[in-house]
Amino acid sequence: MSEKRIRVLVAKPGLDGHDRGAKVIAQALRDGGMEVVYTGLRQTPEQIVSAALQEDVDVVGMSILSGAHGTLFPEVVNLLREKGAGDILVVGGGIIPEEDIPALKEAGVAAVFGPGTPLADVVSYIKESVN
């Protein structure tokens, strides 16, 4: 028996339309053996959390390149906690200045992957953190 496959929701919160990174990560996670659901663009935190619950995921990965991460990432974490799903691992990526990362981690974002991160690092981080 193989172990249960990790389920990941890749989400694009906010109005930003840059989804190259989100889709490339989604593909890499799928090729890494995970089950991946991609939300598409323009998702509100409420929509992301409801998709995460409905799809029963282990991980929510969000990508923002517009600078709205400081508002939207913590909202998703808080909403997950409110719904009793605080155990879902939340990670983020995009154009996120180094100095914003401590506050995001404080808010409950487990890891932030900036530009230049190899795909394999993201895949192995998720595997190690979930299992």
């Binding site: 906010g14 190259r20 889709k23 600078g67 508002t71 939207l72 154009i95 200045p97 230049g116």
Partner: protein, 556 residues
């Protein structure tokens, strides 16, 4: 291009040379098993007249300013006037962006290029729930003519040219620009600039769509018609490959998908009853300048030739100005690294040089800190200086198409034209660009994934990312847009709305609804409305109500 006896002699010499090459390769093997450009064209060791044996100089190249425009759209190009140095800028409030614009003009920039925040690009006012966290982040927030007046305060709109990166609500922003220029005392016919107005690529890859394709194409045709009559200098659309490339496309896919989009706009405008030579000369394009220097030069040349043929042969345009592909270029944002950011200055310089050698009409050079944040004043200045070095110091602007005639450049131009036409034929077979959106998305995604894998497995070297690492201090002095911008903008909007005659606003919105339902040209009613400070969100709200919203298919 060459006589047969010359070619025979070269062929004989090349055969001898090949055995010499083989001997050398035994001692010094090639660095990699294959050399190729990402578009899928193999690169040989060397190019000779043999690679161009089947070509005809007049038919394939001609002279600059002459069909098929491979060598450029103007006879004297930069010997007359350099390209327009146009840095894309905008962030926070209209006051802050106005200051950045005036700073850039003082530094010698020759045209403005305005970035709008995402709520503006998607037709929401700053107080809309979906605007939360986004107001003023990636561009300036414009809710009404009041913001537009602040944005261009002390900038004479009859004297500068302005490019506005606005697509789905382009008609409304154009209406505000016209109203603002008229308030400054200029006539419509005196203003000059560009709206991006390219919605198909929003569906494909950029994401700031509002309406479904059919009403979007109608709005675009409305703009073509209105501008051809009222503001003849205006570039009514900037058909954009830039974002298609940023999303992951190869050079060949970039030009193919862009020109396929162009075909769709021309088709729609002709169907709406316009004459191709009426709007054809005002179509403009926007391309990316990426890292593979020579491939990029060839790409620009190939795009010009393909478009000239499409306009003349496919659409029967008679005006030579309809045949010319005039384009803006921006260096590749995706090529910038967060690691060792100063190295981005060099990347951007080479990319910018490829655009100049490719004959661009205007250029934006990225700032070195843009993989980290919006650019700061210092990095923007260096980016502009990079263009000035190319324009004034290194001699490449003293003649037209200096790389024309290079065996490799010509051969690659031909190869990219062929690849481009293969994609265009495929898209035609699918029923045109609007029907082929998901096909293009899949192609782009596959290329993006391959590109990332090539970096991860080190087939592609990226300095600072997968090789030549070094310890770095975290960068300092990055530009930050604080959240109070949003709060202030919402406050301002509230105050402005309170000062309006509500009955008048309602009647103007009703006129827009009627025009939308009755297939009238929408631009004149937009102008009437924005003059009375009806907001962007109110106007787009009516359009959403009448036409519905586009829902994206998820493809990955």
């Amino acid at each position: 291009m060459f006589k047969q006896d010359q070619l025979d002699k070269i062929a004989a010499n090349k055969e001898k040379w090949a055995s010499k090459l083989e001997a050398t390769m035994k001692k010094r093997p090639a660095r990699q098993t294959e050399f190729a450009v990402d578009s899928g064209v193999t690169i040989n060791t060397v190019y000779t007249p043999l690679d161009l044996a089947d070509r005809d100089y007049d038919q394939d190249l001609g002279l600059p300013g002459e069909y098929p425009f491979t060598r450029g759209v103007q006879p004297n190009l930069y010997r007359g006037r350099l390209w327009t140095m146009r840095q894309y800028a905008g962030f926070g409030s209209a006051e802050e962006t106005n200051q950045r614009f005036r700073y850039l003009l003082e530094q010698g920039q020759t045209g403005l290029s305005c970035a709008f925040d995402l709520p503006t690009q998607i037709g929401y006012d700053s107080d809309h729930p979906l605007a939360r966290g986004e107001v003023g982040k990636v561009g300036v927030a414009i809710d009404s003519l009041a913001d537009m007046e602040t944005l261009f305060d002390q900038i004479p709109l009859g004297k500068v040219s302005t490019s506005m990166t606005i697509n789905a609500p382009a008609g409304v922003l154009l209406a505000m620009y016209i109203a603002c220029a008229e308030n400054q005392g200029f006539k419509k016919s005196e203003i000059n600039g560009t709206i991006q107005n390219d919605v198909i690529k929003e569906y494909i890859c950029r994401g700031t769509y509002i309406l479904p394709p059919e009403p979007s194409m109608r709005l675009i045709s409305n703009i073509f018609e209105f501008c051809s009559k009222e503001i003849p200098q205006w570039n009514t659309i900037s058909i954009s490959g830039y974002h298609i490339r940023e999303a992951g496309a190869t050079a060949a896919q970039e030009i193919a998908f862009t020109l396929a989009d162009g075909i769709a706009y021309v088709d729609a405008a002709i169907k709406s009853g316009l004459d191709v030579d009426n709007f054809g000369p005002r179509l403009s394009f926007f391309f990316n300048a990426h890292l593979n220097f020579l491939e990029e030069v060839a790409k620009f040349r190939a795009a010009r030739r393909v478009w000239a043929k499409i306009m003349r042969e496919r659409f029967g345009a008679k005006n030579p100005r309809s045949w010319t592909l005039r384009f803006h270029t921006q260096t590749a944002g995706v090529s910038l690294t967060a690691q060792q950011p100063m190295v981005n200055i060099m990347r951007t310089a080479f990319e910018a040089l490829s655009a100049v050698l490719g004959g661009t009409q205007s250029l934006h050079t990225n700032s070195y800190d843009e993989a980290l944040a919006l650019p700061c004043d210092e990095s923007v200045m260096i980016a502009l200086r990079t263009q000035q070095v190319i324009g004034y110091e290194i001699g490449v602007c003293d003649l037209v198409d200096p790389l024309g005639g290079s065996y490799y450049i010509e051969s690659l131009t031909n190869a990219l034209e062929e690849k481009c036409m293969e994609y265009i034929n495929k898209i035609d077979a699918l029923g045109g660009a609007v029907k082929a959106i998901e096909y293009m998305q899949k192609e782009i995604h596959n290329s993006a994934y391959q590109y990332q894998l090539a970096i991860d497995n080190k087939k592609k070297t990226v300095i600072g990312v997968n090789s030549f690492h070094m310890e770095e201090k975290p960068p300092e002095g990055l530009l930050k847009v604080d959240l109070s911008v949003g709060e202030r903008q919402v406050e301002k909007l509230k105050k402005m709305k309170a000062g309006r005659d509500q009955a008048k606003v309602e009647s103007l919105l009703k006129a827009i609804r009627e025009a939308a339902e009755n297939e009238a040209n929408l631009i004149p009613v937009f102008i009437d409305a924005v003059k009375e400070y009806v907001t962007l969100g109110e106007i787009c709200g009516v359009l959403r109500d009448v036409f519905g919203e586009y829902k994206q298919q998820i493809v990955f």
